[in-house]
Subunit: 312 residues, 2 copies
């Protein structure tokens, strides 16, 4: 299909079109997704989370520069659970900050909430698949804050950076918010500020080794891209470690299918489509021309398949 | 089909077999349910709820006698959300109390929880449909207690009796537990005990008129079947009132289809069947031979229809 071929060639318009199709569930999106999914699987996905103001965007800006200097094509996905809109339109200040907006080797896209929390990680996964199929070798997922929804989105990442800063009480918040279990690498940004060493020491006892990897704490000053080469080295070390494990692909597959199942079943019990199909069958049930189980199957069949599911 | 015809003839073995088929979702149960559902719709369903010890079983015993004396065939469904078992086996003390165990015009069946609360009202509805199709003109649904699960089951009833007793602080509990919104008729049982009049007075201000019906408070002494003729008169008055409204059938259809949808979608995201189907598709997703959406649709299709649902 033309869109899939365009994405494979790295055509930016085709990538944008594909993402919009997937997000809006437009006709043909299923076969586009299927085609892209088969081509994907070689990108490395880095999640960047942490409280607002910790300097995540500035840090991503530096990391993009580091990876571009190695010749990698880089994708950036800006996730904003608080916004009801989606698509390329609302990148906002975060993305305008990037030096790379004109760089053809960088693709920037925002993903916003359309109501459901589960939908956000699903939408993020779909953008990852599109950029992955287009051979963006490293993909950053950056969140606005670090709420539960955003931590869920981090499951999409291979390596998760938790960005903290001194003086903000960030270390206490991080310990409270479950960020310590999320991070594969901790970044103490703005480490030129007073208290950086103390803050790093405070979180250290809460960092636990997982699967043979002990998350390091890397000090950076993202404003000047200080420490970001060391951060990249740490990311690459974690990537290498993951590459030695077969667990990653099966965990990803499980998460993705569960997300898809959850999304589909939610659409069965809520939403306009459900109500419309319900209105079609209820008069039959009311007159006892159809039993409720058959009615429910008919609704599910129409919502999922365009025709009623039947029992063998 | 033979089972459906047997139920239509009122054959007790056929009714038992049909109920077991529906409860255990045995092969052929779908067409049995469909057949029974078409024949059903003429029975009147009376729910009886209230705290344990209020005398619900004894009261139902009297009510069965009243309706039998009018020549009605009567069904009794004993709902026990605390028991993990189901089927005719565990009727227990409640049903042994009934004078009517040998009466061919009375059919007694218990319904127990199989884990899910939603499943209990669904299971109860199915037993109602079977007894309704077998022309049991009045069906009592009796609960053990009055928890939220049991109040949900009361939605299956046309008329709900809330049974209280004096001295137990029942009136306060009833007001707390949302029983006041559930009852179409309040029964102050054991009204020969001291404080019955005061207890009746205490609940009166909390009783609200709904759809032009003001729930009465009827005093009974179920141990001696005192007041139960008056109670039957009140039930019949409520039945007549309902018969004047067209709302009942559409509300029932809506509740039934929602129950069926909920049950089916729960089976999609939980349970052994889900895990089995998941295990079949995950290796394909892991190897990227199948995308997660197609995998989820395949799982749903297999669980619901024996073959994959497809998008038109």
């Amino acid at each position: 299909m033309e869109t899939v071929r365009g994405v494979a060639r790295g055509n930016r318009k085709a990538i944008s079109r594909a993402i919009t199709m997937l997000e809006d569930d437009l006709p043909g999106s299923r076969s586009v997704y299927s085609g892209l999914y088969r081509m994907a699987g070689s990108s490395f996905v880095v999640g960047v989370t942490g409280a607002p103001g910790a300097g995540k965007s500035t840090l991503v800006n530096c990391l993009v520069r580091e990876y571009r200097s190695k010749g990698e094509k880089v994708g950036v996905i800006a996730v904003d659970p608080s916004s009801p809109l989606s698509g390329g339109a609302l990148l906002g200040d975060r993305v305008r900050m990037l030096d790379h907006a004109q760089d053809k080797g960088v693709f920037i896209r925002s993903v916003a909430s359309r109501g459901s929390g589960g939908g956000l990680s699903r939408a993020t996964r779909k953008v990852v698949v599109a950029l992955d199929a287009a051979k963006y070798g490293v993909i950053f997922i950056e969140t606005v804050g670090a709420g539960q929804t955003e931590l869920d989105v981090m499951k999409v990442a291979d390596t998760t950076l938790v960005v903290l800063m001194p003086q903000a009480g960030d270390e206490v918040q991080a310990i409270k918010a479950g960020l310590m279990e999320t991070g594969d690498i901790f970044v103490m940004n703005k480490s030129d500020l007073e208290g950086a060493d103390r803050a790093a020491l405070q979180i250290a006892p809460f960092i636990r080794e997982r699967d043979g990897w002990r998350p390091p704490v890397i000090k950076t000053v993202a404003r000047s891209c200080i420490g970001t080469a060391e951060l990249v080295a740490s990311i690459q070390a974690h990537r290498k470690r993951l590459g030695q494990s077969r667990k990653k692909d099966s965990q990803r597959a499980l998460d993705e299918v569960k997300d898809a199942l959850r999304h589909m079943t939610e659409s069965l019990t809520n939403g306009a489509g459900r109500d419309r199909e319900m209105a079609r069958v209820l008069p039959l049930v009311e007159k006892r021309d159809m039993d409720p189980d058959t009615a429910a199957e008919t609704i599910i069949g129409r919502l999922l398949g365009g025709r009623p599911a039947r029992r063998g």
